[in-house]
Symmetry: C2
Subunit: 272 residues, 2 copies
DNA sequence: CAAATAGTGTCTCTAAGACAATATCAC
DNA sequence: GTGATATTGTCTTAGAGACACTATTTG
């Protein structure tokens, strides 16, 4: 063998001897939706939402799952994730990041299927999710994620009167990242509840340092909008003057202003 | 189909119709090695090292690569990574974290092989790397990683008079993480230079917030040792009183002291 | 004018960097 | 004693939270 040329080696090489897994990409796509409320001059409520699809076939028939699909030969896993989320949501996401690789041998009753989990951000447009190629039902679910410091967390997803409540245990790795294991899936298909929790964890740390929040907004935005995005994702509350001070390092001002709201116009900013 | 039970569906399900990739785990295992220098009372130099293996077969014959191997049915990707690094380094790593999934269709001339990249930490013991099951040559390489802020980075790996220098371009993702693409592999096999750079990036952020540095040290350690680990990984320099102040939140003191060095004994601490 | 957001300035507290000074051991 | 690390304390500066206050618009 050592005397063979590389070409000769490759010509005789075969990987057919080993069993191989199917590989999928599952995408937790987030969007921030605003919901008008009460007084004409009050700002709308903002909610973080994640896109779920109702499974039309087995396994987990009629359960809600993340959009995703099989990796095809000739594409990268990111291309696969983009393709799947685009097909399901009808829009190209503004950001995409690998959050985990789920490989438990029994995670899918269909057989040996491993899945790369992604977090992604959909810029708020008027896009309504479309039923994908499988004619499945795709809907945005309001996200609520409470992780007390006791090592357990509760993920609640709501759409209309559908309420999915998953219970997870937190496991802090030596590298500072937190992984989640499902204690109670709450009707969410496969291990997708853990994927959503991990994606939220990544989303929050990305929102903290101003690296992800711009992707939720159009090109030009007010500082108040920006603040609402950060607050909504991180589930915190900041005083406007203090937020303004921090945000100043990450934005450039334009010479445009909003108008039509029941209060002083706000200057529009862009990402620096 | 909708009327079938789930059991009937699964009994008739077959995934043989789709082509599937081979999946590997590649592990960037780091260790900090101390190198006595000069005066008897001076602290030894510390260097960050990564374990590489000289490939005995094609492709990339005689090039240096990360230890790794194929995912087997019935194991998780983490178990696979642990198994491979244990076989190669002869010791179980103290930490393991997924840093990326490399899926470019042409990344491996043998065919469709995707790889999960891990960062891992080997506690400094007297362990010498063993030639693995392939009778390959395994060696620790000193790591030097300079990323100027211009978007390019240089990764230099040295062992004896072997010097591998890879050039990479940095790509900051919307989620705040940095990905690396290889401009010049410097003789490092496959896309492993990018894997090492990504692992270093993760290692540095883990060292910054005291989440990973303890894994490089034995159970009890002095604050000076801890400081050296952080400084070595992050390539920075901190004044000892200031480091002591920050570290205080993360350690518990014992009632033991070092002795035998040419200076005042130091109290031993443990991870809190 | 009232209600709401937009925007500025300032006080305080904390964390981090710089650095002076003392303590203690092996040789 | 000398040379090294160990350890404590303090000064200064940067940043974040709290908050008082002014500005501007629509109904």
């Amino acid at each position: 063998m050592d005397n063979n040329s590389e070409q000769a080696f490759l010509a005789g090489y075969s990987m057919d001897d080993y069993e191989r897994p199917s590989v999928t990409a599952d995408v937790a796509a987030f969007m921030i939706r605003s919901e008008a409320c009460g007084s004409y001059r009050k700002e709308p409520q903002s909610r973080l939402s994640v896109l779920l699809i109702r499974r039309g076939g087995h396994p987990y028939k009629d359960c809600w799952a993340l959009p995703g699909g099989f990796l095809q030969k000739g594409e990268t896993i990111e291309e696969c994730a983009l393709r799947e989320i685009t097909e399901e949501a009808g829009v190209a996401p503004a950001a995409l990041m690998l959050t985990g690789l789920y490989t438990a041998p029994d995670r899918d009753p269909r057989g040996w299927i491993i899945s790369a989990a992604f977090a992604s951000v959909i810029t708020d447009t008027e896009t309504e999710p479309v039923g994908g190629d499988d004619a499945n039902d795709a809907q945005w679910f309001d996200v609520s994620f409470d992780n007390d410091d006791t090592g357990s967390a509760v993920l609640t997803l709501m759409h209309g009167n559908i309420r999915l409540e998953a219970h997870l245990t937190e496991h802090r790795s030596s590298f500072g990242r937190t992984e989640y294991r499902i204690a109670e899936s709450g009707g969410i298909a496969f291990d997708h509840a853990a994927m959503i929790a991990s994606a939220l964890s990544v989303l929050r740390s990305g929102a903290e340092n101003f690296s992800i929040i711009f992707d939720f907004l159009p090109e030009k935005f007010t500082l108040n909008q920006l603040q609402r995005v950060q607050e909504t994702i991180m589930n915190i509350s900041v005083l406007p003057p203090n937020f303004r001070r921090k945000a100043a390092d990450y934005v450039t001002e334009t010479d445009e202003y909003t108008s039509g709201a029941g209060h002083r116009p706000a200057k529009l900013f862009m990402k620096k």
